[in-house]
């Protein structure tokens, strides 16, 4: 039946339902992942970001909010050039972090 409108699923992030196991595993290997203050330096310097939607800031946030698929989609655009590591004011080794994310989250998916 067509009512002339449709409803999209809720976009609300429910923090109660986020499974934090993988993120905590990531945190053990990359303690600095907690230090991100979402300044966006990494995203603005990323040469791939404007074409592929890659953003380290958004990847960290998505993982914290339990949106692993979103993060994986963005990470596909990363060329591992490491420019983001140079600009991070909190000194997070973002390139290393990206590799760790890929390793941990890939392993979990297998």
């Amino acid at each position: 039946m067509n009512f002339g409108f449709s409803i999209t699923p809720s976009s609300t992030i429910n923090l109660d339902k986020v499974d934090r196991t993988m993120f905590e595993h990531l945190h053990e290997i990359e303690p600095d992942v907690y230090k991100c203050m979402a300044c966006g330096s990494c995203s603005s310097t990323c040469p791939a970001g404007r074409f592929s939607g890659m953003s380290v800031r958004k990847v960290i946030l998505a993982l914290q909010r339990g949106r692993e698929k979103e993060a994986a989609g963005m990470l596909k655009g990363c060329m591992l050039c490491g420019k983001c590591s140079m600009v991070c004011p909190r000194g997070i080794n973002t390139r290393h972090l990206i590799l760790s994310i890929c390793r941990i989250y890939n392993k979990e998916q297998q």
Partner: protein, 338 residues
């Protein structure tokens, strides 16, 4: 020296100014409304950024003024402006003729129940920053259960940066206080998730940024940028908090065992009341108006009337101490010039 000096308020500013004036050879008179000295500090547990016990600082400040004349549980009934002095009438029947009055009347904590959407006074799981300090100190609060907590939230800027609540100003200390209290909660309940809902984090002071980094890295406190819009209770007796995660651009909800509201600083109505007796002005932010907000914060527009501490705006303890010392020196210079 025989010149009378009346200090209105026995909190951090009043005590420190009195101590400095005693060292300069004066005998100041402290008038305090409460039955004890120390002001808000007396109710606090520990202070950022080194977790200094507040009781140590209060005890030190009170110890330094043992030679002062102190009237506790005493209020100012009225102040008359005489030709070149003031007549201060106290509620205990004593009247003092003085050429110098120092206002150290401080601030009052914003009445959190006015932000009804946060549910303070409605839900037992919602408390203020002051309630939490009291609980840290005494371990007693009928609203807080003894069971380990799984999730705790802090709401920044409650009654600060809020034009609708009549307080457009930033209360300055709540950001860092929330970080401090979040760390303390994490120490008590290492397994708990601790969230801070903020609009901006204003880490302006010495070592504040380090403290913030430590809260993130060492304690795993989660900072969510977005102001809490509403709080409701669920069937299990927990509170459900709704906010916008403005960094993700999506609404966020979370269930908490305890929600702490970081109530801000507003001008103490008592200080405005006393100030109006000698027609001292208030500034556009509602706090007492200094002669000049850069060059002369501790002076009023009237000769012989001085200010120190949070009566002229939100301040940290070290800032208040520095201002009290500065006011003591100003008073000394003023008396010398008489």
């Amino acid at each position: 020296m025989k010149e009378n000096i009346v200090i209105i308020g026995g909190g951090v500013a009043g005590l420190e100014a009195a101590a400095r004036l005693i060292r300069l050879g004066y005998s100041p008179i402290i008038v305090e409304k409460q039955d004890h000295l120390g002001g808000h500090l007396a109710e606090w547990h520990c202070l950022f950024p080194d977790m200094t016990p507040a009781s140590d600082i209060t005890a030190h400040l009170v110890g330094e003024v043992s030679d002062a004349n102190i009237f506790t549980s005493t209020e100012i009934l009225f102040i008359n402006h005489l030709k070149d002095s003031y007549n201060v009438m106290l509620s205990n029947g004593i009247s003092i003729i003085t050429k110098v009055i120092l206002f150290t009347t401080g601030f009052r904590l914003f009445e959190a129940s006015r932000k009804e959407e946060y549910g303070y006074g409605i839900y037992n799981q919602v408390i203020t920053n002051r309630d939490l300090e009291h609980w840290f100190n005494t371990g007693e609060d009928a609203r807080i259960s003894s069971k380990p907590m799984e999730a705790v939230g802090f709401v920044h800027c409650v009654g600060s940066r809020d034009e609708k609540a009549g307080n457009a100003q930033c209360s300055k200390v709540c950001c860092i206080t929330a970080v401090k209290q979040a760390i303390e909660m994490k120490k008590k309940f290492p397994e708990a998730m601790v969230y801070c809902f903020y609009m901006d984090l204003r880490m302006f002071g010495k070592k504040y940024e380090d403290f913030y980094i430590s809260a993130q890295r060492d304690y795993g406190v989660r900072f969510i940028r977005g102001r809490v819009s509403e709080v409701s209770e669920n069937i299990e007796g927990k509170v459900v908090v709704k906010a916008e995660d403005t960094l993700a651009g999506k609404p966020v909800r979370v269930t908490l065992d305890l929600l702490v509201l970081m109530a801000g600083m507003v001008c103490n109505p008592d200080s405005t009341k006393v100030a109006s007796m000698i027609s001292l002005q208030t500034d556009s932010d509602g706090f007492l108006k200094s002669k000049d907000n850069i060059m002369d914060i501790t002076s009023s527009s009237r000769s012989g009337i001085f200010y120190a501490g949070a009566c002229t705006g939100p301040k940290t303890v070290p800032e208040t101490l520095a201002e009290a010392r500065s006011a003591a020196l100003d008073i000394h210079n003023f008396i010398e010039s008489l």
